[in-house]
């Protein structure tokens, strides 16, 4: 390396030492193995897959002119031995946050979560879902955004500008959880002429009063869930799907009432888009926990949620349009933070069912092992995702976590 570069880095580090209050490096590296119980629909699909993921996080905080500032950088990398699409990289976060008195500003790539329910997140619309990572919908792609937040005695106001859109990337031909026809991610089409550069915006007010937590949000911009339209390649004589991203306007409300061992939750959205015109969906339910069961220190919680979508069977972006979710969560509260969550989703119209079990446990302070299994049954042949019927799987993850304070 050039001596000038080294000198520059050294002096920069010296500068950082003077002003920076905290520098932290943390993250994880994990190995994952998946086993599918049945042969897939395509010959390229395998019963077994091996994968490695790495997600480091660099964080620095400092203060200048009475403003608290921070910088966070979180790259993400996954390599998968079977599915090329699942081998993916992303900048999950690359953001700076400034805070002073009752104001907060954020710029960069970030993740924002809204909502209260467990099985399905209706009001959470800012980030695109990374379905390559997990089909549970909890993993997200980084979203470019500008945020201004004002904290008042009567709640918190968030104004968001979202320049740039992240596409939903679907598994490739060799990947599991795929559709009967291949989805060509690269040929995505948009309703807006600005395509991926359409600037979305959102406004949210949230507040907590005693036992109540409430949020009301409005979003206008590109719909995160694409329509899958059939195309035909005459040369190859093959049908395939392309994602089509519409524009939408959506109101969302989320509400939670917390009393004793009960959590009561509800989310409601009202959305306008060209295909559905206007539709309403509501999800809600409860969580009840028995703490320190029989003085063993363990907590046992039961969860129940219901989803209603007034589009009924026309809800093409949902596997279960009217479903019940029931689950049980056990927290062992031991030194290894052992946890088990088991649940089932049942469609009340069709007989479709999905069962899942997740369990995790820490060992040797820095390691974590987790197991996840999902089983699908009575999957209706008419749904676009009927191939899931062949995607029952069990997954083992072994992760090494690190965390160091550098100053």
């Amino acid at each position: 390396m050039d001596i000038k570069v080294i000198l520059a880095i050294v002096s920069l580090l010296g500068l950082l030492q003077q002003y920076v209050m905290a520098i932290e490096i943390s993250g994880y590296i994990e190995g994952e193995g998946r086993y599918f119980f049945e042969q897939g629909l395509y010959s390229q699909q395998k019963d077994k897959s091996v994968s490695i993921a790495w997600q480091p996080e660099l964080y620095a905080a400092w203060e200048s002119n009475g403003i608290e500032k921070s910088m966070t950088v979180v790259p993400f990398l996954r390599w998968d031995n079977v599915d090329n699409a699942r081998s993916h990289a992303d900048i999950r976060e690359f953001k700076t946050i400034w805070a002073k008195d009752d104001w907060e500003w954020e710029a960069g790539i970030s993740k924002i979560f809204w909502g209260v329910t467990e099985a399905l997140h209706l009001v959470d619309v800012i980030n695109q879902t990374d379905i390559l990572e997990s089909i549970d919908g909890e993993e997200k792609w980084g979203q470019p955004l500008l945020r201004a937040t004002k904290i008042t005695d009567w709640g918190v106001w968030d104004l968001l500008l979202l320049p740039g859109f992240r596409e939903r990337i679907f598994p490739g031909k060799a990947g599991r959880f795929s559709t009967p026809l291949v989805i060509e991610n690269e040929q995505a089409k948009y309703q807006s002429g600005a395509k991926q550069l359409h600037t979305d915006w959102a406004l949210r007010w949230s507040h907590n009063m005693n036992d109540w937590d409430i949020g009301i949000a409005y979003f206008e911009g590109t719909r995160r869930a694409p329509r899958l339209t059939i195309n035909y390649n005459f040369l190859q004589k093959k049908a395939y799907l392309i994602p089509y991203y519409e524009q939408m306007q959506q109101w969302g409300i989320d509400l939670q009432y917390t009393q004793g061992s009960w959590l009561w939750k509800g989310e409601l959205i009202s959305q306008n888009n060209p295909t559905d015109d206007q539709y309403t969906a509501i999800t809600g339910g409860f969580e009840y926990t028995w703490y320190d069961v029989w003085q063993t220190g363990k907590d046992v919680g039961v969860l129940g949620e219901y989803l209603f979508d007034d589009r009924g069977d026309n809800a093409d972006d949902l596997l279960f349009a009217h479903h019940w979710f029931a689950g049980i969560r056990v927290a062992f509260n031991d030194a290894q933070s052992s946890e088990v969550l088991a649940g089932g989703i049942f469609d009340s119209y069709s007989a479709m069912q999905m069962y899942s079990v997740e369990a995790s446990r820490r060992f040797l302070d820095s390691w974590k092992v987790s197991i996840e299994a999902r089983f699908f049954s009575h999957i209706d042949k008419q749904t676009p995702l009927y191939t899931l019927a062949k995607d029952d799987y069990i997954e083992l993850r072994l992760a090494y976590y690190f965390s160091e304070q550098l100053n």
């Binding site: 943390s26 946050i97 918190v156 030194a335 933070s337 965390s403």
Partner: protein, 270 residues
């Protein structure tokens, strides 16, 4: 006549004064053990008032009966409240898999506390039920109710006796939790008579048998007023497991504000 009346008045005055004196002294000496216990705890609380805010770093060492150790690192922030229980924020640093997880509690003098948990992987702030009092905190021998703000109103008290503990004269005070969801039926504390600080507490479980003993070591005084221990050692007599809390970097009055203890600030808490 005049003299006689004067004499009578004086005599009556003396009688009244004597009765009053007896009444006053009787009231003082007739404080019930419950009232005495409450007075002691109130005085301890009064002496600890006015700190405004305090931050500190804590290392938690869990040891099981075989001597296997597990460590956690936590940053703690407390904001004093005038007419309510304190607000506190704990941020987990290690183990690395829970780094960034933060727990915000608004404690209340009566009724249940408000608690929010921040899950950094999901960027999610989750309101949680605060009935969880008796459960273990981070798998340790400390229950959630041992870690939160110790408000006077959360217990009833009983002064038992004066007793020497490690060469220090102490009040021995029993306290009984008001909340029926507490994991304890009784706690007995040894409180230093001169400094009004707790040196030792015995915890009795729901079956009224001795469950745990907590000892406080290395008290230091900050801002010439506030006493804080460097070490808290909890021993579970029934499982032989222990948990040591080592406290350092106490900083008082760094100027924390209400907004530093909000759902919104949880996401930025470090």
């Amino acid at each position: 006549m005049v003299v006689k009346k004067h004499y009578r008045d004086k005599k009556r005055y003396c009688q009244v004064a004597t009765i009053l004196l007896i009444l006053v002294t009787q009231t003082l000496y007739a404080l019930t053990p419950q009232e005495q216990g409450l007075e002691i705890v109130k005085e301890a609380k009064r002496r600890d008032q006015g700190f405004h805010d305090v931050v500190s770093d804590m290392e938690m060492i869990l040891r099981n009966a075989h001597g296997q150790e597990s460590r956690r690192f936590i940053r703690s922030k407390v904001l004093e409240q005038q007419d309510d229980g304190d607000k506190n924020l704990v941020i987990f640093k290690k183990p690395a898999d829970v780094k960034g997880t933060a727990l915000l509690s608004f404690t209340h003098k009566s009724g249940s506390d408000d608690q929010w948990l921040y899950l950094p992987a999901l960027k999610r702030v989750k309101r949680i039920a605060s009935r969880n009092k008796a459960g273990p905190f981070m798998g340790s021998e400390f229950a959630y109710e041992d870690m939160t703000s110790q408000e006077v109103e959360k217990y009833t008290y009983e002064y038992l006796r004066d007793e020497m503990y490690q060469g220090i004269m102490c009040f021995v005070v029993a306290r009984y939790p008001v909340d029926k969801h507490s994991g304890y039926t009784k706690q007995i504390s040894w409180i230093d008579k001169s400094r009004y600080i707790v040196l030792k507490t015995d915890f009795y479980d729901r079956k009224k048998s001795l469950l745990k003993t907590l000892t406080f070591k290395g008290y230091q005084q900050y801002l010439d007023k506030y006493w804080r221990p460097n070490e808290m050692f909890m021993k579970n007599h029934q499982t032989s497991k222990t948990t040591t809390l080592l406290w350092e970097n106490y900083q008082f009055r760094i100027g924390l504000k209400e907004r530093d203890f909000s759902k919104n600030s949880l996401k930025r808490a470090r």
